[in-house]
């Protein structure tokens, strides 16, 4: 028995060694390179920025809605600590900046142990660990980019990020808590990279929020060094508030988005009941007065 099996065993061993040494067994995709963002998704939000009080299509709860309603955009000029603030790691992919991805190789095993990303806005750098490290202890400081670990499922890289700092879901005052987590799915099709982000925030969301972004490879893309200095843009108290905000019921811009785009005000308030097709059956009619509609009216 044994002598007859030895050649077969040796054959399997040889094939396995060949596959291991050539890395053919690994499913890791190398995302390394320079990428430019494509804006066919959510351009108004991502480039010029969202309208105030536009929460359309977002599964926010009452806390997030009230936080957004009280947001005065002067805050980012008066509160100087915000001047050089990065995006959160779950929002950074939506920005208008190039992305560089590099792969970190363990010199001993020649296996990838991490991807490092750098996005050309505020020098946002992030490490996505592939070697399953321990997550930071509860008392460790949180960071804007959070702590990311990734694993491959076929050709897709799944990433879990925790330990975020408080940040924003949208740049109109919709807050994102430090308790949120983000799950990302990276898929590459030729020279296109699609990133689907699922944010779970027990503080501000009624259900997970899903967004996607697409990138195209551009070997010529280069980034600048980050050189932000947090200078005061407005004198503190110039507006009578050291933290500009609107008192409840006193936000003068609360109807602006609904009126400008002739959308029912209730639909702009977000929440899971407004996100799905069934909402069309109960949605209020848009305002009849067309004079309010100044953009995208048809």
């Amino acid at each position: 028995m044994i002598p007859r099996n030895i050649p077969l065993f040796n054959l399997f061993a040889f094939i396995a060694a060949l596959l291991l040494s050539s890395g053919l067994l690994a499913q890791e995709i190398d995302f390394s390179g320079d990428w430019r963002p494509l804006y066919h998704e959510d351009l108004p939000e991502r480039s010029p920025g969202p309208n105030l009080a536009d929460y359309t299509g977002m599964p926010i709860n009452d806390a997030a809605r009230m936080r957004g309603d009280s947001y005065n955009p002067n805050r980012i000029s008066v509160v100087s600590e915000y001047i050089c603030r990065q995006h959160g790691g779950d929002y950074s992919m939506r920005g208008a900046a190039d992305l560089n991805i590099s792969r970190i190789i363990d010199p001993l095993t020649q296996q990838a142990i991490a991807f490092k990303t750098r996005i050309g806005f505020m020098g946002m750098e992030r490490t996505i660990w592939l070697n399953n490290p321990e997550r930071p202890p509860e008392i460790a400081p949180h960071t804007f980019q959070g702590f990311s670990t990734g694993s491959f499922d076929g050709n897709m890289l799944n990433i879990l990020t925790t330990d975020f700092k408080e940040s924003y879901l949208r740049r109109n005052g919709l807050a994102a808590s430090s308790e949120r987590t983000a799950t990302e799915h990276w898929v590459m099709h030729g020279d296109y990279l699609t990133v689907v982000t699922v944010i779970d925030d027990p503080v501000f969301l009624e259900e997970p929020m899903v967004r996607s972004q697409t990138w195209v490879r551009d070997p010529s893309a280069r980034q600048s060094p980050s050189s932000c200095v947090p200078l005061q843009e407005l004198p503190v108290n110039a507006l009578g508030q050291i933290v500009p905000h609107f008192l409840p019921g006193q936000n003068p811009w609360i109807m602006e988005f609904a009126e400008r785009y002739r959308i029912p005000y209730s639909a702009t308030r977000g929440g899971i009941e407004t996100m799905y097709p069934e909402y069309m059956d109960i949605m209020e009619k848009p305002p009849g007065n067309a004079e309010f509609c100044t953009e995208e009216c048809e």
Partner: protein
């Protein structure tokens, strides 16, 4: 029946044994939860205790900001002794709060006992230490301990300061102690380790909990905001608003400038809302039911410990009303 008759006490004993083993295991687990987390420079934080203890470990001595429960002191010192064999020289108490000073006496007893000593039955040894361990707090901590109702059973201090700040040099770095006169209480101190670039804030920052404005101990909402603004003025963030100066809160995770900013912002915004309703003639009950903090309750209120939403709003209301009088 025989078996049942004998089985019952056996089961009872087994259960009791199991409970004892479980309790022992839990106690062991709780003890194992203590740890020393390196913050930055010479600064460490004791984790797993009832309170965050800031520990400066250098080539001269050990300095503490606040102390843990006496039952945790031995294990804490074991952890420290893995890093340093230097003597304990300084303990700074951030406020008259039993959680923050419970281990003062135990830690003082770690010091030199070669001469002198405190008088029998005297809880407080003012006028210099006799053990080589200086235990410092603002004078108002001592005053409140003697003169006002409080839940602190005993207080061990060796000296107090009454000036706006107090500083000394230890382990090759300047240590500045600043009095925050009307924040959590009227005797709060924050401690700035200048070379390490770490500030120990006591209960002026507790991530995920509303601020504890202890009106009965001299705390005020505006004083709390001023204390956080003062802290922000000391802090310098690292590149892109991250890192740089770190803060050790009284409880919960370590933070940097943006964490203090978000906490300050919340307090300012809620203060302004309460003040606006007071200005419009609302009484406390009307304010409490108005839903003023719906947007912050999911982050700071609820079952997270610390003041409830009602307690937080009531403290702000009382503080503002007293300020108007």
């Amino acid at each position: 029946m025989y078996y049942l008759k004998h089985l019952k006490p056996f089961l009872l004993k087994s259960c009791l044994f199991g409970i004892l083993i479980g309790a022992w295991a839990n106690a062991a687990e709780m003890n194992q939860a203590l740890g020393l987390f390196h913050v930055k420079g010479q600064i460490y934080m004791l984790t797993g205790a009832d309170v965050n203890v800031t520990v400066q470990i250098g080539n001269e001595a050990i300095v503490f900001v606040d102390t843990p429960d006496p039952s945790d002191v031995e294990e804490m010192m074991s952890l420290i002794r893995e890093i340093s064999d230097k003597p304990v020289r300084q303990v700074i108490t951030t406020a008259l709060d039993p959680l923050h000073l419970a281990g003062n006496d135990t830690i003082e007893n770690l010091g030199f006992r070669g001469f002198g000593g405190r008088g029998a039955g005297v809880d407080i040894a003012i006028g210099g230490n006799t053990t080589g361990v200086t235990l410092l707090a603002h004078e108002n901590v001592l005053n409140r301990f003697y003169l006002a109702d409080n839940d602190v059973e005993s207080l061990t201090l060796t000296t107090t300061y009454f000036t706006p700040s107090f500083d000394f040099y230890m382990n090759g770095e300047g240590i500045a102690v600043y009095h925050m006169p009307k924040a959590h209480t009227d005797g709060d101190s924050i401690v700035f380790f200048r070379s390490s670039d770490v500030i120990s804030l006591g209960d002026l920052l507790i991530p995920g909990q509303y601020p504890d404005i202890d009106i009965s101990s001299g705390g005020t909402v505006n004083g709390f905001i001023e204390a956080l603004n003062f802290t922000l003025a000391l802090m310098i963030p690292g590149p892109n608003a991250e890192g740089g100066t770190y803060v050790v809160p009284g409880h919960g995770r370590i933070g940097d400038e943006i964490d203090v900013v978000e906490y300050r912002n919340m307090l300012v915004i809620v203060r302004d809302r309460v003040k606006n309703m007071i200005d419009q003639g609302s009484n406390l009950n009307q304010i409490l039911v108005s839903g003023l903090t719906v947007d912050y309750d999911t982050e700071y209120g609820g079952p997270r410990g610390g003041p409830t939403t009602s307690e937080f709003i009531t403290a702000i209301y009382q503080s503002l009303i007293e300020g108007m009088e």
